[in-house]
Each structure stands twice: as C-alpha cells, then as structure tokens.
C-alpha cells in the first residue's frame, strides 16, 4: 500500500526515532508549565508572553575585606548580560555571583526590583494623556506632564512584585535563591483590572 514504508527492523528504528523526537518536543515545553522557573521561558514557545513584559531594575553589592560596595554592572558586564540579569535568568545571576567571587569578593548579593507591566491600563491611559498634553499651552503642558508622571509612578507602585534577591557566600560558594512564592508571584492572576494581588508582607520588607 505504501511503497515507502521501511521493512523489517528499519521500520521500528524509524518509528522509534519519530516517537522519541516528537515526545521530546512535547515534553520540553511542558517543563515550564509544571512548576519550572517562571522566568526561564526558553524552549517553551512563549514568545511575547506576560512574563516577558515584567520590568526589573537590577542592582548588586559585594563585600571585599569587610567593606560592602555596589557593583557597577554597566562597567563589569555587557549590557546584554544586564538585560538577562534583569529578566531574572537564574543561571545568569548565579554565574554572575560566582564570577564576583572569582574576582576576589567575599560575598555578593544581587537584587531585582520588579514591577509587572503586564497590566498596563494606567500606562495606556498615561500615553493617551501625554498625547493630550501636547495640545496644551506651555505652562499647562508642564503641569499636565507632571501629572502623567505621578500617575505612572503610582501605577508602578501598584504593580510592584516582591523583590528577588540572590546572594552568595564566596568561601563555600553557597547561593541563596529567592523563595518560591516571590519567584512565582509573576504568575499570580490580577484581582482587578490594573492591579495585582498584594505581595506578602515579609517579601515587601525584605
């Protein structure tokens, strides 16, 4: 019937290869949906996902000879690495901390302060208001723009996610990672338009 069907053992080898390759392609993205790192969307076909629009402000400090000082990320790394750090890529952050140890630090801490730009109702409104500001006179325009700015700050505050902090003790290279609740807060659905559920108090304080 199908002249192209391989015969004998070759048939089973081909079918085995197909089964293996297709199963792998089905299984690899599943890793994300079954509790994997919410910020690591590689191999999961999540282009332009909600997580991708989380916006974080990265910072790092390190201790050398008992003195703590901020790390100037822009000078130490290529900006593309800073971009990946700000996207909470665990492997990059851990490698960065190890890299600090290799550079002579005694301990290092990396923190991402993130807000969830995925509910940007206020961002959209702000954009519209900004457009409206352009039609006003100069003095009114300045006042209008500053109102928009305040509004955006408020929005950012409303959509804040728990800070995520990684730290390393260089003597034994043990790395402390953020707790799972803080990490998975990004997946928390909104309680209302423009708002996310309030982060746990202990996370806010950290």
């Amino acid at each position: 019937m199908n002249e192209g069907v391989p015969s004998g053992n070759r048939y089973w080898i081909v079918m085995g290869a197909i089964a293996l390759l297709v199963a792998a392609q089905l299984a690899i993205p599943l890793r994300y949906y079954t509790g994997g790192d919410p910020y690591d969307e590689r191999f999961s076909w999540r282009m332009f996902s909600e997580v991708r629009v989380v916006s974080c402000d990265p910072s790092a400090t390190e201790t050398r000879d008992g003195q703590s000082a901020p790390v100037e990320l822009g000078r130490e790394l290529h900006e593309a690495w800073i971009g990946l750090l700000s996207r909470n890529r665990d492997a990059v952050i851990e490698r960065f901390l190890v890299h600090r140890c290799e550079g002579g630090a005694n301990a290092a801490t990396f923190t991402n302060r993130c807000h969830n730009a995925r509910y940007p109702v206020c961002t959209r409104d702000a954009r519209m208001r900004q457009a409206g500001c352009a039609d006003l006179g100069q003095a009114e325009q300045v006042r209008c723009m500053s109102q928009v700015s305040v509004m955006l700050q408020q929005c950012e505050q409303d959509t804040r996610l728990p800070d995520l902090t990684w730290s390393i003790a260089c003597d034994d290279r043990t790395i402390e990672t953020p707790d799972a609740d803080a990490l998975h807060a990004v997946r928390t659905p909104p309680t209302d338009e423009g708002e996310v559920e309030a982060a746990p108090v202990e996370d806010e304080e950290r």
């Binding site: 199908n2 940007p120 659905p189």
Partner: protein
C-alpha cells in the same frame, strides 16, 4: 489503523515540497547568518563572562569570542548556501545544523526562540532525502520523458487548476509583501530581481499553468518537520491563553497605536466598542495559532484528497495573517516571520502551485545544465521519486482503496548514469575554489572571516576527495561551483549591508563603556570605514583617542 498511521508518515507527498523546503530554508538561513548575526558578535567575551544555554555545555564549550562566533555563523552560512544550490542536502543540513546549534547554544545571548526552532527544522531537513531538481521537475535534457509527457498530458480537475492559480498568485503576493517590507534594506537590485520573479510567477499562474504529472516521494522527515512545526504553534497558542492575552492587553502592548485604525474601523463599520474589540483580537491570536497547528498536522495529507485542501488553505491564510501582521507591527524578531512564511507556503499551499513556482526558481539551474552539461550535477542513482498521474476511473477507485488517492506511482524518473572524470578535470577548479573562498573571508574584514573561509575550503577539499574516491569526480563540480558562488555571495551581501559598521560600532561602544580606550578607538576607526552617510562615529573615536592619550600621558608621568 496501522495502515493509516503508516500512510501518514510514509505515504507519498509532492516531491516539490521537501525539495523547496530544504533548499529554501538553507538559502534563507545562509543570508540570515551573514546579514543578521555577525554584528552581534561584539558582545562576546566581555570580561571573560559567559553562560551557555545549558549548564553542562559550560563544561565543554570554550568561552566564546567574537572571532569564534563570527567564524561559526559565516561557515554555517557558506555550507547552507552551497547545499541550497549543489544538493547533497542531507549531510549539508547535518553540518549546518551542528554549527548553527553550536552558535546559538554557546551563550544565552542568543535567546530568541526561533534559534531553537531552526535547529529542529534543520534536523527535519537532515531527515529528508537529498533530491535534485532533475528528479523533481525533470531534466530539459531528458527528451524521451518530455515527449512522453507531451503526448499524454495529465487530465486536470477544476480544483487543481483553481488551486494552482490561487496558490501561485498568493506566492507572488507574498513576494510583493517581502519586497515592500525589505525595499529599503535590500535596495533596487534585489527589488528588480524580485519583480522579475514576480512577473514570471504571475505569467505561469495565469497564462501557462504547468500541466503534466506531479512527482511524489515518500519522506517521513517531511511529516516529522510538519508535526514539529504544529507542536510549536500548539504551545504558542497555550502561552497566549493567559489572562493578558485573552483580554487583548498584551496585543495592545505589542501593537501600540498600530491597532487603532482597525479598532476605529470596527467601531464605525461594525459598531464594535473597544471593550469587545481588544478581547476579540486577543482570542483571535489564540485561534490563529491552533488553526495553523491543525493545518501543519494534516499537511502531509495535503495532496492526497481535495478535502484536505480546505484546512490547508485556512491554515495558510491564518499563518500569513499572523506572520505578515508581525512584520507590519515591526516586532524585533529577526527573520523569524520569513522562515514561517516560507514554511507555510511549502507545507500549506497546493503541490501543483509549488510545482509551478519550483519550475521557475530552478529554471536557471536547469538552463545552465543544458548550456554546460559538464556542470550538471544530477549524477546519482535515482532517488525514490515517482512520477504520478492524476488518477481517473479504475485507477481512482484503486487509489481510494489504497487510501493514497491520486498518487499511484507510475514511472520512475530516468537519470543519466555518471561518467567517470579524470582528476585533472576536477582538481584545478577545486583548488581555485579553495583559494577564492578564504580570500572572500579575508576581504570581509571581520574577526573569524579568514578561519571561516579556510574551514569552508577544508570542507570542500574533503568533499572533492570523497567524490573522487567514489569515482564520481564529476559529482564534485556543482559543489565546487556552489562554494565559490557562496563565498562571493557572502562577501557581496556583507559588503553592501551595514554588518561591519554595526559590528565595529558595537565593539567600540562596549570597549568605551569598559573604558578600554585603545580598543574603543580602533573599533570606532573601523566602524567609520563602513559607516553609512551621516552615521559616522567620529565624535566617539575622537573621545576615545583623547582618553587614550590622556591615559598614556598619565602612565608616562607616573613612571
């Protein structure tokens, strides 16, 4: 049940599909590798920091440098281009796939998911049999076959005619879209070539639709590629089911103001308010993904019954709307949309339309084969390509019974046997090519260019030696010609583009940020050599020079 299962994986498909799929992907990939990737190399090996895509790779991979990265992408491009024209696509797809995968896995810099997709696609290509244009479209030299086809033209149904014209017409439209999107970057020469192609395609579509038998092939790699792409769309649909996509907010975020005209139109023409429009668009994106996924899932059956043509067309339009829409929105996703447009055309358009397009795009190669028979590369034993006629009457009933409608194999294509060729007929041209390819690499003025050229020369030498050992020196000639053209195409493509300018200005910027003033100065100096008008980095170069001199002075006074 098993028969249906086997039919899905091993049943006949139009031979033009795998042929165009492999060649199209390799060709697009070659230019993607040359034009869109080397300029990012400047970010490698900054402060000795790197993270590979997988932790275990860090143990075996070296710390990537700009030179290594450029070398890998250029070499992969040379291989891909050569394979697209000279055949032997299976080993070429494997080699290109290995190099390409090494290229993007060496660092998390390359985080676009389409790199992963392309590695899977190249695996699919490697699983497809290597076919030649003669096997798929017939050789113009093969007179007896031509006469046989002319004497007994295959009867064609109205669905076939309609599908052919619609398919080719749409192919031409897509070509126009590509021109429109890329006119600024590609320039008038490319636009003129594309316009010629467009004219020829439309001519064939409406005045001279191809008659004659289609050829089919059994290729489980094609079904594998089809299922793989279906999986990608399926999961993409799942990722879009999150609240932000369902509400349409995510799409608004991405599209910005570009959706506004459509929203206004929906409001005025359909009375649809904003609160309905945006969620509808959001759900629309999800629906599109799954419709396309289903289309790809049944794509291997596309040529077997006209009923399969319906979801094929629906999926085709869905895929086009999504990917051309992404280009319209100006998303920064490299050439991803064009890969998906290409695959949608090949998997979802009717085989008869692809046959028409394939005859046009392979015409120059087949014409060269007529003019220079010595260059003709169709020299291997025939692949399992069958010529089939559209079944009628008893044959149709038989075909239905076999559940492989309309594709009863009839004739195996006759291919002229290879003639032995003396070493002296191959070696001079081979050596010439092995010299030209590294020279092209040197002329690029990019780190890794020379090594890529030398690597390609070594690969070519190995190929020529292999063919000579197989007593088929003649079979090496198309590859020698293709490798030479590949090197020239690479040099030309990079020379007329901003790749070198972008690479050196980024390198300068990175060194400037790290206050490596001498390196920054050298990089900016080179960037200026290739700077487009009005984009000189003179100011940055002067700043770097001043800082460099100040540092030297401070160092001198310090000592």
């Amino acid at each position: 049940m098993k028969a249906r299962w086997d039919s899905y994986w091993f049943g006949p498909i139009a031979a033009v599909r795998p042929f165009l799929f492999v060649r199209g992907v390799l060709l697009l990939l070659a230019f993607d590798l040359w034009l869109d990737m080397p300029d990012h190399a400047a970010r490698y090996d900054v402060a000795g920091f790197n993270v590979s895509q997988l932790a275990m790779l860090d143990l075996v991979y070296p710390i990537p440098t700009a030179g290594l990265y450029v070398c890998v992408v250029l070499l992969a491009g040379l291989l891909a281009f050569s394979g697209a024209f000279a055949g032997f696509t299976r080993p070429i797809a494997i080699a290109t796939g290995v190099l390409y995968t090494f290229g993007w896995t060496m660092s998390m810099f390359d985080s676009y998911q389409h790199h992963y997709l392309l590695s899977i696609v190249l695996l699919g290509c490697a699983l497809l049999p290597s076919t030649t244009s003669t096997e798929v479209f017939g050789s113009p030299l093969d007179e007896p076959e031509k006469k046989a086809a002319a004497a007994k033209p295959a009867p064609r149904r109205w669905q076939d005619r309609l599908e052919t014209r619609a398919g080719v017409g749409l192919g031409a439209t897509i070509m126009m879209c590509w021109m429109a999107f890329n006119l600024e970057r590609s320039g008038w020469l490319i636009a003129a070539i594309a316009a010629l192609g467009l004219g020829a395609t439309l001519y064939v579509a409406f005045f001279s639709p191809p008659d004659g038998p289609r050829r089919t092939i059994g290729a489980w790699g094609y079904s594998f590629a089809s299922v793989s792409i279906a999986i990608v769309y399926f999961y993409t649909g799942i990722s879009k089911t999150e609240p932000n996509w369902r509400s349409g907010v995510a799409l608004q975020n991405i599209a910005g103001e570009q959706l506004a005209p459509y929203q206004k139109w929906a409001e005025s023409a359909l009375g649809m308010d904003e609160a309905t429009f945006h969620p509808l668009m959001g759900f629309g994106v999800i629906a599109v993904q799954w419709v396309v996924a289903i289309g790809y899932l049944i794509a291997p059956l596309r040529d077997r019954h006209w009923l399969f043509a319906i979801p094929g067309w629906i999926a085709f339009f869905a895929a086009m709307s999504f990917h051309l829409g992404a280009e319209y929105l100006g998303l920064e996703i490299g050439w991803f949309s064009w890969y998906m447009v290409l695959t949608a055309c090949i998997f979802l358009l009717p085989g008869s339309a692809l046959d028409a397009i394939g005859r046009i795009v392979t015409w120059p190669g087949r014409a060269i084969a007529i003019a220079f028979p010595a260059l003709e590369g169709e020299r291997r034993k025939p692949a399992a390509v069958k010529r089939t006629e559209v079944a009628r009457g008893k044959a149709k009933k038989k075909a239905k019974k076999a559940r492989v409608a309309e594709h009863a194999p009839v004739v195996t294509v006759a291919v002229p046997a290879a003639k032995p060729v003396s070493l002296m007929a191959v070696l001079p041209v081979g050596i010439g090519a092995m010299v030209i390819v590294p020279i092209a690499g040197v002329l690029l003025d990019l780190p890794g260019g020379l090594v890529a050229g030398l690597g390609a020369s070594v690969a070519l030498a190995a190929f020529v030696a292999w063919r000579i050992l197989k007593h088929d020196g003649r079979g090496a000639r198309p590859m020698i010609a293709a490798a030479t053209v590949a090197a020239l195409a690479m040099w030309l493509a990079i020379s007329v583009s901003d790749v070198r300018y972008d690479f050196y200005r980024r390198l300068g910027s990175q060194n400037r940020r790290q206050q490596h003033w001498e390196a920054a100065y050298e990089a900016y100096k080179r960037a200026n050599r290739y700077a487009p008008e009005g984009e000189s980095r003179e100011r940055q170069m002067n700043e770097a020079r001043e800082r460099m001199e100040a540092e030297r002075a401070a160092g001198g006074s310090g000592s």
